[in-house]
C-alpha cells in the first residue's frame, strides 16, 4: 500500500516526529511503501542541518536521513514554512528536499492513505 505521512511538529519538543518514524519503519518492514513524508508547520525543523542532540539520546535528524537513504523515502520540507523558521534550500540535514505545499496535496491524491502526526 502507498502511504503518505504528514509531520506537523519539530523534533524533541513533541513526540510527533518519533511516532512518525516508528510508524514508517514498521510500515516498511511490513512491505508497504512510504511514498512521501511531508514536513509542515514546525515539522520543517526536522530538517535542521546543524543539530547535535546529546550522545545518550536518539538522533532524529539522522534517523530520517537513513529512511531516505536506505528506503528511498521522499522527505519534503515545505518551502514557505521553512523560510519562516530558518530552514532553506541547499541547507538541510541529509535526505531532505525543499518544495511547495502542492507536494502534500499530491500525496493526498496519489497515496492510498495519508497519516498525520502532530501536537
Amino acid at each position: 500500500m502507498k502511504i503518505g505521512i504528514l509531520v506537523n511538529e519539530g523534533p524533541y519538543n513533541h513526540q510527533a516526529s518519533d511516532t512518525a518514524l516508528n510508524f514508517c519503519k514498521a510500515a516498511l518492514a511490513k512491505g508497504h511503501t512510504i511514498w512521501r513524508v511531508f514536513f509542515y508547520y514546525d515539522g520543517v525543523l526536522n530538517a535542521a542541518p546543524r543539530a547535535e542532540p546529546p550522545t545518550d539520546d536518539r538522533n532524529l535528524f539522522k534517523q530520517w536521513g537513513e529512511l531516505a537513504e536506505k528506503h528511498g523515502v521522499d522527505l519534503v520540507v515545505c518551502v514557505a514554512a521553512g523560510l519562516r523558521r530558518g530552514i532553506r534550500e541547499g541547507d538541510t540535514a541529509p535526505g531532505f528536499r525543499i518544495s511547495g505545499l502542492g507536494q502534500l496535496i499530491e500525496a493526498g491524491i496519489q497515496c492510498d492513505r495519508l497519516v498525520t502526526f502532530g501536537d
Binding site: 510508524f23 510500515a27 492513505r113 497519516v115 498525520t116
Partner: protein, 100 residues
C-alpha cells in the same frame, strides 16, 4: 475511519471531540499522551468504558510502557497494538483522522 488521539484527556479536549464526532463502529487508536485515556480507575475511565462499547478502541503498547502502565490497568474492551498493529489499522481503514 481510523481516529488517532494523542492528547491526555485530563489536559485537552481532543478525545472528547473525537468521541462526539466518530460514527458508531469507528476505530480509535490512543497514542502518545492519549494512552492515559485507556486507564481504569481515573476520572475519565467511565467515559472510556462507555466509548469502548460503541467504538473499537486500541492503545499503542510502546506508549503505554514508556509511561509505566501495563495491560492490567486498562479499561475493559480496550485492545493493545504495537507499531505494526498501528500500520495494520491504517491499512484496514480507508481514511485516518488525527485529533491533535
Amino acid at each position: 475511519m481510523l481516529h488517532t488521539v494523542n492528547k491526555s484527556p485530563f489536559e485537552k479536549n481532543a478525545l472528547e471531540s473525537c468521541l462526539s464526532h466518530a460514527v458508531e463502529g469507528a476505530s480509535i487508536l490512543l497514542i502518545e499522551d492519549g494512552v492515559y485515556a485507556a486507564l481504569g480507575g481515573t476520572s475519565t475511565a467511565a467515559r472510556m468504558a462507555e466509548a469502548a462499547k460503541r467504538f473499537k478502541v486500541f492503545v499503542l503498547g510502546p506508549d503505554l510502557a514508556a509511561r509505566g502502565m501495563d495491560a492490567g490497568r486498562l479499561v475493559e474492551g480496550v485492545g493493545i497494538v504495537d507499531y505494526e498493529g498501528f500500520v495494520d489499522l491504517v491499512a484496514e481503514h480507508p481514511t485516518s483522522q488525527a485529533w491533535l
